[in-house]
């Protein structure tokens, strides 16, 4: 009797796929965790300028984003407007809104609050300076001029 049965037709064993759903589910959970749904729809057109010396804003929970640009819908005019969350924000309301935003944060994080300004490249500096002054009044001193990363050409 031979130990090796030659010639015996042996079927290829089927691959056990019962663990495949678990595998996929773990990837799924990973993506579910890192996903944050876009909670705001941009009502203004923002095309941020390019810069080479940008730094990443590390902690998302500390960052408040303000959008500045021309409104998409022409019925709001053609002047540059400020958008915060889902609404347009008048320049006079920047201070109360920002103060409110700060108060909604955890107490330890409040001094670390950072405001990221996503400003369209065609905006006039008058609007930006006005916004900066209001942010100073609201004690939001850590700001960031949002820009796209660009490789520096001449070194």
């Amino acid at each position: 009797m031979s130990k090796f049965n030659k010639g015996g037709k042996k079927e290829m064993p089927e691959l056990n796929t019962s663990s495949l759903p678990d595998l996929v589910f773990s990837i799924l959970f990973f993506f579910m965790c890192i996903t944050h749904m876009r909670e705001e729809t941009a009502k203004v057109l923002v095309n941020t300028p390019q810069a080479s010396e940008v730094v990443k804003l590390e902690n998302k929970s500390l960052v408040t984003t303000l959008l500045v640009g021309k409104p998409k819908d022409k019925k709001y005019g053609v002047e540059s407007l400020i958008q915060f969350n889902d609404d347009f924000l008048d320049i006079e309301n920047v201070v109360p809104k920002m103060t409110q935003q700060r108060q909604s944060m955890k107490e330890v994080d409040q001094p670390k609050m950072q405001v990221s300004m996503k400003i369209d490249r065609d905006t006039k500096m008058g609007v930006v300076t006005e916004l900066k002054t209001q942010l100073r009044k609201a004690q939001c001193l850590k700001i960031s001029y949002s820009a796209k990363k660009q490789i520096r050409r001449n070194k």
Binding site: T17, S18, L20, P21, V24, F25, I27, L28, F31, M32, I34, T35, H36, M37, R38, P49, A51, S52, E53, V54, V55, K56, L57, K60, V63, T65, Q114, S116, M117, I119, D120, R121, D122, T123, K124, M125, G126, V128, T129, K132, T133, L135, R136, K137, Q139, C140, L141, K142, I143, S144, Y145, S146, A147, K148, K149, R152, N154
Partner: protein, 200 residues
């Protein structure tokens, strides 16, 4: 009658993988991995009255951008491409100060003060009192403004990089240098950019 013991039929789970895949693809699509990037700045505190600080003229480099996006560096027209180099020369302040050699020479040399910076010894002189005053006009475009800001930040970054290489032999990077070393370099070349209000 003898009853047969029946096993409960197992649920066919071959489709659960498909189900999970569908969900996975959905989350893949809606996930935005992009992190916000930008030029970070610390604004000065708001005070009701304008504070007038007396700063010696030689310690200030004026950078002006007007409504036509023309650039003025010091006392003359300038190009954005030259701004980085000019700012670097200004901050380095390596030339000897000679008050009678004309305004452009004065402007190019901020004073150096003895400053106790860690790793650099007690008699180190740093240009800690220099100020780059960036003024923009009401009508300046934001794109131009960011370009100018970017050049100024680049000047600081390059100077700090050079200093880090010559002093520690490592690139100016949080992963390479210790916290104290980073701070020492920041103390040596502090970033003093004053963003004055737009002029009306």
């Amino acid at each position: 009658m003898a009853r047969k013991k029946r096993k409960a039929p197992s649920i066919n789970s071959s489709s659960s993988a498909d189900l999970a895949f569908t969900l996975l693809i959905f989350f893949l699509v809606v996930t935005s991995m992009d992190t916000d990037e930008g030029l970070t700045r610390l604004l000065p505190r708001w005070t009701e009255e304008q504070t007038n600080q007396d700063i010696k003229k030689r310690n200030i480099l004026n950078v002006l951008v007007n409504a036509n996006n023309d650039l003025m560096i010091g006392d003359d027209f300038g190009k954005v491409e030259d701004l980085c180099e000019k700012a670097k020369n200004f901050i380095k302040a390596e030339g000897e100060f000679a008050g009678d050699r004309g305004p452009e020479y004065i402007q190019a040399n901020p004073e150096k003060y003895p400053e106790l910076v860690q790793y650099f010894g007690a008699d180190t002189k740093t240009p800690k009192n220099h100020v780059i005053s960036l003024q923009s006009d009401y009508g300046t475009s934001y794109e131009m403004y960011i370009k100018v800001q970017n050049e100024l930040v680049a000047a600081y970054n390059q100077l700090r990089e050079e200093l880090s290489q010559s002093k520690f032999g490592k690139p100016y990077d949080e992963e390479e240098l210790s916290k104290e070393q980073m701070q020492a370099i920041k103390d040596y070349y502090p970033m003093n950019i004053s963003e004055a209000n737009a002029k009306y």
